[in-house]
Symmetry: C2
DNA sequence: TTGCGCAAAATAATCGATATTATTTGAAGA
DNA sequence: TCTTCAAATAATATCGATTATTTTGCGCAA
């Protein structure tokens, strides 16, 4: 009995790994995803790879071509604009619902999530990103709407992919996003939905406008 | 060379077929989906089945259990309420955007889609349902927002599943839903977003309230 | 030179079988 | 009679190989 090096099934490992590779841009937009190539890189069989790619298809990170395999989703300014728009709408919705149902438990959850994010600011980028997402999801999770939360999570990943593609992650981490996060947290804890939502959407739109600018040029592939 | 009886790959056929079986309730909510059983019923190998189930997982129609296979998604009053809510929000958004971008082509598309639906009223249920969905999707499709449209399509299927489970499809087809559809179409053609949206949401809420009532009892499994 | 068609190679999709993992069954002991 | 443990069973997950499809590359003719 040999330990398979990580927890979960081969499919789940492949899913997480390929997803990560796409999100951070290690696999470029529109790149052909050859089963055999991935099979080698991830040291597994063809079945887990195919299953993982099928899952990613539904996350809008991979496209399936009739009988010609898979490729990563293409990027475009239109696509980015759509993601940004939808995020703003759906997260506004979820955040307001979360706040409307606020409980002490949830309050503690978001405070904790925020703290972890702040503490990891100087850690590896991957760690920070993980906590950053966790914080944003925690804000929304009290809406008690699993489907909506899933949509938001998907959109988050689609969005973050653009950030990685623009290569501006370091800037982003340094830009005074801390204040923005703190402000959102404070408003949420105070159960002030209007302020929280306004700050959250501003947070997105600021980053979004920045990326939109970059997309006008040629950061695609 | 033998023709594979239907177009598309084995995976796609399996996907469509299993999806259909879940939506119409042939596979009950929470039912265990045994690979071998499906493999026999669909006369194909295990790989296409697994891939199809992976795709359905992301449509929220199938749940994957750690290392214990798949089952159909469970149903509940809460789940239904969430679907209804989200549908109303997202379709309102999409419809308004569609109307805002109205063109003559789109106008003709929806008139045509409506006509086909009306004409198929006395056809087989499956045919009618197909055109019914096509009409609703056509209304939203001019929003030029593929992701949003996909969300709406998913929610449509999740919702229709409840209608089938309640066994009220025949009632529904007869109830004077025709007037509601005509009204929505007319308002959309007139580019009156407020009226169109109001009628659309009313359409959903009426059906929704009816189903919610049934769910209070025991139409689950 | 360019376009066409056919053959060869590459790749994807599928299958059948094996290994792995959960679940059930049944017997022994308390 | 109930609990516990282990073997048997059943089902899943995975692999390796086969089949079907698409793409590539070459030769030939216009």
């Amino acid at each position: 009995m040999d330990i398979p090096s990580a927890d979960g099934s081969a499919t789940q490992r492949a899913y997480r790994k390929i997803r990560q590779m796409i999100v951070v841009g290690e696999l470029r937009p529109g790149e052909k995803l050859k089963i055999d190539g991935l099979r080698e890189r991830l040291e597994t069989g063809a079945s887990p790879i195919r299953e993982a790619l099928s899952l990613l298809t539904s996350d809008n990170l991979v496209e399936r071509l009739d009988q010609r395999g898979f490729r990563t989703a293409k990027v475009s300014a239109e696509n980015f604009a759509e993601i940004l728009n939808l995020r703003c709408t759906l997260e506004d919705l979820a955040l307001r619902e979360s706040i409307a149902r606020a409980t002490q438990d949830w309050e503690e959850d978001i405070v904790l999530a925020h703290h972890r994010m702040v503490r990891s600011k100087d850690s590896e980028q991957e760690t920070f990103e993980q906590y950053h997402k966790a914080f944003h999801i925690a804000l929304l999770s009290n809406a008690e709407s699993p489907i909506l939360l899933k949509f938001c999570s998907q959109l988050y990943d689609l969005n973050i992919r653009y950030r990685f593609l623009a290569g501006s992650t370091l800037n982003y981490q340094r830009r005074d996003v801390s204040d923005e996060h703190s402000g959102i947290l404070a408003a949420a804890v105070a159960r002030d939905a209007d302020t929280a939502s306004e700050k959250l959407l501003n947070h997105y739109k600021t980053t979004g406008a920045f990326l939109s600018g970059l997309l006008g040029n040629g950061s695609l592939s």
